[in-house]
């Protein structure tokens, strides 16, 4: 039975290869298919990951070319909003051949699965990824109940 599972994995791996091959075909035709992975639809911007580490929620957002002064984060209870502006970085005195990188302001809001303690949130911006560590509020943390 183990062999069967491995066969399935191989099949899926082969499909990954096929997808990459198809993507490179699109590239060969100079078709920019956005920031998504190939032919999947473009999700809302910025794209994010949310992880739960027990005491904290960790949110990672993809914001290339946005400096920290241009980012705003609002938190209230379990509501989180990321807004910002991506300013055009066109250099002076250059002729433009191609612009695929859009510059615009954006805003995205989330309902987090737990209420978070807004005062203890830590946010760092590195290599175009915004990482926020959101500690769950005391009422949302798991609690040991003593049975009398």
């Amino acid at each position: 039975m183990i062999t069967r599972v491995q066969d399935m994995q191989q099949l899926l791996g082969a499909m990954d290869l096929f997808r990459n091959q198809m993507n490179s075909v699109f590239n060969a035709f100079d078709r920019n298919h956005g920031i998504g992975q190939g032919w999947t639809s473009t999700p809302s911007y910025p794209r994010t990951n949310l992880d739960d580490t027990g005491d904290n929620l960790v949110l990672v957002a993809e914001v290339p070319g946005v400096c920290k002064e241009d980012l705003q984060v609002k938190i209230q209870g379990n509501y989180l909003q990321i807004g910002g502006t991506r300013k055009p970085d066109n250099p002076e005195g250059y002729k433009v051949h191609r612009t695929e990188r859009e510059s615009a302001s954006f805003s995205r809001s989330f309902t987090l699965p737990y209420e978070v303690d807004a005062a203890k949130v830590e946010a760092t911006l590195k290599d175009g990824l915004l990482k926020m560590t959101l500690p769950k509020s005391e009422s949302a943390k798991p609690r040991q109940i003593v049975i009398r």
């Binding site: 062999t3 491995q6 191989q10 791996g13 082969a14 990954d16 290869l17 997808r19 990459n20 993507n23 490179s24 590239n27 920019n32 298919h33 956005g34 920031i35 998504g36 992975q37 190939g38 999700p43 794209r47 994010t48 990951n49 949310l50 992880d51 739960d52 580490t53 027990g54 904290n56 929620l57 960790v58 990672v60 993809e62 914001v63 290339p64 070319g65 946005v66 400096c67 970085d89 066109n90 250099p91 005195g93 250059y94 002729k95 433009v96 051949h97 191609r98 612009t99 695929e100 990188r101 699965p113 911006l125 290599d127 175009g128 990824l129």
Partner: protein
């Protein structure tokens, strides 16, 4: 016989196929008299994970992003990915002077033109 073979077949190391999804980074391309300037979005790629190779008029720009998995996932929209794109570069580029900087997940790649390719003002001397 054949059923038996299916069950006892051992895994070959070469059969493990895993590849990062490859995606094209969005780029802006600018040009002035001195150089061609390329801006590419590569969020989450460290400067040690970027490779730029120029060979025979072809430039391959590649960068790998590996995110650390932390805790259990509530939702995931971005993952490990390889950014890769191939460009045709003119022969007039001075390959030795190509340099790049990385800021906020955006790669700024400078491709200076060689001296011979720069426009030159020719002065006409009265004879």
């Amino acid at each position: 016989m054949s059923d038996n073979e299916l069950v006892t077949r051992t895994e070959q190391p070469g059969e493990l196929i895993h590849q990062l999804p490859v995606t094209t980074p969005a780029v802006d391309i600018f040009e002035n008299e001195a150089e061609i300037l390329l801006h590419a979005d590569m969020p989450g790629v460290g400067k040690n994970d970027i490779s730029i190779s120029i060979d025979n008029g072809k430039m391959i720009l590649a960068g790998t992003r590996r995110l650390q998995a932390i805790g259990s996932t509530a939702w995931q929209e971005l993952g490990d990915v390889e950014f890769r794109r191939t460009f045709a570069v003119p022969q007039s580029i001075d390959v030795d002077k190509v340099h790049a900087e990385l800021k906020d997940g955006v790669l700024h790649l400078h491709l200076p033109k060689s001296e011979a390719a720069k426009p030159r003002q020719i002065e006409i001397v009265a004879g």
